[in-house]
Structures are given as C-alpha cells and as structure tokens.
Amino acid sequence: MSPEPYDRDLTLPPPRLSVGAAGWVRANLFGTWYDGVLTLVCAAALALALWFGLVWVFRDADWGVVATLGGNFAIGQYNTEAACPGKNCFWRPQVVLLLVTMFLGMSWGLTKSGIARTVAILVASAAAAFAFLPYSMEKMGMDVRVLLLANAPALGAGWAIARHTSMSVRWFIILGVAAFLLSLGLLRGLPGMQPVPTIYWGGLMLNLLLAVGGIAASLPIGVALALGRRSRLPVVKVMCVTFIEVFRGVPLITLLFMSQVLVPLAFPEDFPLNSVARAGIIITLFSAAYMAENVRGGLQALDPGQMEAARALGLAAWQTTLLISLPQALRNVIPAIAGQFIGLFKDTSLVYIIGMLDVVEIGRAFILGNPEYLENARELFVFLALVFWIFTYGMSYVSRRIEYHLGVGKR
C-alpha cells in the first residue's frame, strides 16, 4: 500500500463536543455522573448564598454607620480638636493624597505602560469622585471638595512633568522618596506649622503610610539581606542569618509590643522615635526578613551558567549580581513578593495593639463607644473587608500585569 499523497490536506476539524463552550462544560462540569451531581449542588448553594447576600446588602443592611464614620475612616482622629486645636488640618492629608496622585501620574508618563495608567486613572478618579459625596456642606466643606477634585489636574501635572523632562528612573525614585518624606513632614507639621502628634494619626491613612513605607524599604533591605546571607564573608553571613531568623521567628505582634515597651526602657525618655516611626520600622524589618528568603529562593533557582557567563565576560562580581542575577531572581519571585506586600498591608492593622487607631480599630472603637450602633457592626466590618480587598486586589492585579509584562523574554 502506498503512503497517502503529501499534497492532500489531511487536517480535520475536532469533534464538535470537545471544543468551545459546550466542550468545556461537558469536560469540566458534567464529565461523570458524580461531577454532574456536584455541579448541580454547588450551583444551588452558590445561587442561595448570592440571593441572601444581595437581599442583605440591598434591603436589610443599614449602611448609615459607614456614612456616619465617613472621613474618620480616611484619617482617624487627625482633624479633631485635640489633634489640631483651633485649626483645620484636614488639608494636609489631602495634599499628601495630591502628591500620591501626582506621583502615579509621573509613573504613567514614565513607563508608558498600561498598568501605571490604569492605576493612576483609577486612583485619581476615585479621589475626585469623593468630592461629590452627598454630605452636607457643614460636614464636608467646599475646601475639602475642591482639594479632592484637584486630584484630576494633579494626575495630569505628574504625567506632563515625567513626559516633558524625560525623567530617568533614578530621578523618579529620588523624587518618590522625597515626596514620601515631605508627606511625613507635612502630616507631622513642618516648621512654622501646628504640629499634629503621631498618636492622632489614624484611619486608612495610617495603614497606607505604614504599608507604602514598609514596602518601599523592605524590598531593598530584603535584597541586601538575601545577598548577605549568600555572602562568602562569614561575619556578614552570620549577621544576616541571625537577623532573618530572629525577625521571622517572632510574631509581629510581639515585635510591636517590644518596640513599644522595651525600646523606651533601653533609650532615654525623649528618644525621638514616635510610635508611628517605631511601628513602621518594625513592620519594615519584619517584612524584610521574609523578603530576604523570597529573594534568596529566586537567586538559588538561577542557572549557575548565567553567573559563569557574566564572569567569563569580565563583569565584576557586583555587576554580575546587579545586572544578571537580581533581575532574573526578582522576576522569578514576583508572585511571592506580591504575596509578601499584601500580607504586609493587612498586617498594618495590627498596630491597634500598640494603641494606634488604624482603619479597623477606628471602626471597632466607634462601635464600642456608641453602643446604639452595636447592631451595625456587621455592616461596618463588611465595609472594612471591602476596603482591604480593593487594595489587596489592586496589588495582586499590578503584580500579575508586571509578571506578564516581564514575561516577554522568559525561557
């Protein structure tokens, strides 16, 4: 028998029920009789949960408690009479928000990538949208609304600055650190301004300050620790291993307690570090210890041939690390790094343990202080869960986009 002639097209379409939506449903939902039963039971349970959930959200729940707390969620007691006597200090966190928006605009102008654009526009429009909250003018004045609206031009300004100066990444980072420090100074009160003690800092602002500072600082510290742990110098190695194991081995709550209780014992009473700074440092170091192990995992997964090739080309050891090892190692552990950052953000709510009123504690303290709202605790915590979820989902989304974006040259 002669073989089939080559020029005849032997390509056939696949059987209809194996592809497309019908094929997917058949393969995944009703493959066997017990798959079918499971699918039906789960679908029924989901439908019921969704139904009761929607009924509660739209009919039974009383969301008044969220509206009542309003700006307290955002800034805690920052603008109370005790924090800022005789003055209105609400504009300061708002200016900080404007700086954030401007910075996001700059990152959009800088990277020309879709990720930065999406995040920048979402944040700026959300901030501007708050200007239209149906509060009375007495509760939310015109000044507040105007500053919120200003987030839109701030975004444009940041974008234009980055575009027109063709800003380098180095300057972007320097400006970012400067803006962060300026924000801290502004909130604390720059010289000549009414100081606002850090014990009054609170709300989502406190969570975000701790999270942003912690994330920005723990990545480089974690990378340094990971490299130190792989160092051939025994002193460096032992120091890094000790640091990592101590900070990983102790619960964050314990570390926060120790920072509050032990540090003042060991240092003079007028030790300049306030509780926010101490909490920030503890959270940063705690996160850095985990980060170090993530990065080390990425470094260990690298093909030794990569380093050999770099060294054979005459690159110095530090150049090999900076240009060859780290970019590949960090890219490989983006999911772990994103997970670490999400954990860090959620952990910032633990600062309630040292008496700070983060966004969760604001809600809890309000319920405790106003028993008439006790029945609304459920609404309050559902709202808080949603707030946390929005931020963590945003981080997860950004990390996935970055992963996809950097996956271009993946082996």
Partner: protein, 250 residues
C-alpha cells in the same frame, strides 16, 4: 612538545592540579598554546578536558601549578582575574545567554559595562558581529525566541564583542540538533581563519581534522596525546587514545 618557544606562547600551563573534594580532576597538566594556534581537546567525559579550559579563565580554581595567560599569572588577585577574563572569551555548551536581555543587549552588555564603551559604539560593533555570525535580523529578539543554533551564534558574538585574544569553546555543539551544528561550526571555521587563538573541547572529529593545528587528548586528568590532527587520528600512540578513537569514529 609543540609551542615551547616562550615568546610565542599565549597560554602556559605547568603541572596544573585540580581537585573537586577528594576527586583529582587534573593531575599535573603541562602544555602551552601559541598565539593564533587552534587546539582541539578530546577525551571521554570526566577526563578533565572541560575543567582544563575552565581553569584558563578561572571559572575553576586550580590548586597547584601555574597557569600564565598573556603574560599574567593566575592567582587569587581579583584584578588579574578580571583582566584575563576580558581577554579570554568563552562559549558554553548550554549557550548561557541572558534571558532577560535582548540579543543586542546580551552582546553590548560587557563592552558597555566593562570596556566602558559608549552605547552607540557598542551597538555598532554588536551589529557588525551579528552580521558576521549571520543573524543580523535577530538583534531585537530575546534569546528564547531563537533556535539553538542561533543562540549559540549570539553567544559567540557576545564573546567576540570584548575583542578577546583567546576564545575558549566548551562543547559548543553538544546541545544542538544535527542540522544546527553545521551553522555553528561554520562560524567557528570563519573565526579560525581570522587568526584567533582557539581552544575547543568538542566531539566533532571532522571539524577537528580540518581546523586544528594540534589535538590534545585528555584521559583521567592527564594529557595522553599531543599531536597534529593527522598524526593523532591516523596513528594514535596511546592505547586509550586508540580505544577512544575507535569508539567515536565507529
């Protein structure tokens, strides 16, 4: 032994020993390579041939004996090692291109970072090298988008970008499909005619016969044959060399 004229010798090895833990990988290797010479290194796996050429740019550290490359003695002095690595290019069995950089960035990296060339000059040189290895159109791609043969040619271009005096090839075609071996060997042939000093670990006998000035055969950490290719292939002296040749020529 060939190449005893010290003035001409670009690589001199005297009684080089290397241990991996208890394993004695190089057992007193003594040889030298003249400027412009093409040396093919053969031997069964585990015979020390890769360890030997990796010692020449100190990817492996020898523990006894002397290795002198281009007048510089290899010690633990980092500056000496870096200086030698700048003059010695290396091509690996598994290419070892940097996957996070494009082809052109792979090639320009070392000239820019080590030689401190301006980017424009480095890129111009890189494009000329890509032309030379026959893939000028692949400059903006990532290594993963290229075939194995193309990747190895990029790796050769990357090594050549540093304008080395010596090129080391560690089984450059062993990871390639048969139809890609030829394109890499063609590039190496062209390079050989340009007068480059080359040390090549390979199993490509035809290539060795054609290009080599000398063939070294390693066995159990010792050089057991050192002869021009015709003598080596037609009239091997050592029993192990005969056995090895009968296996690879079969």
């Amino acid at each position: 032994m060939a190449g005893t004229d010290a003035a001409e010798d670009i690589i001199v090895c005297r009684h080089v020993h290397k241990w991996f833990g208890e394993f004695h990988a190089l057992k007193g290797v003594t040889t030298s390579v003249r400027r412009g010479e093409k040396v093919v290194i053969l031997g069964p796996s585990g015979s020390g041939k890769s360890t030997f050429i990796r010692s020449i740019n100190r990817l492996e550290e020898h523990q006894k004996g002397d290795i002198i490359v281009d007048g510089v003695r290899l010690t633990n002095d980092v500056r000496d090692i870096d200086a030698i690595r700048r003059e010695v290019g290396m091509v690996f069995q598994s290419f070892n291109l940097f996957p996070h950089l494009t082809v052109i960035d792979n090639i320009t990296l070392a000239p820019i970072k080590v030689r401190k060339w301006p980017r424009a000059q480095a890129e111009e040189a890189a494009r000329a090298l890509l032309e030379r290895v026959g893939i000028p159109e692949q400059a903006e791609k990532y290594p993963s988008e290229l075939s194995g043969g193309q990747q190895q040619r990029v790796a050769i271009a990357r090594a050549l970008a540093m304008q080395p005096e010596i090129m080391l090839f560690d089984e450059p075609t062993s990871a390639l499909d048969p139809e890609m071996i030829k394109e890499v060997l063609d590039v190496m042939r062209e390079l050989a005619t340009s007068g480059m000093t080359m040390l090549i670990v390979t199993h490509e006998v035809g290539f060795a016969r054609e290009v080599a000035d000398r063939v070294l055969m390693f066995d159990e950490g010792v050089i057991i044959e050192d002869a021009p290719p015709d003598d080596f292939f037609n009239n091997p002296q050592h029993e192990r060399a005969k056995a090895f040749l009968s296996q690879i020529l079969a």
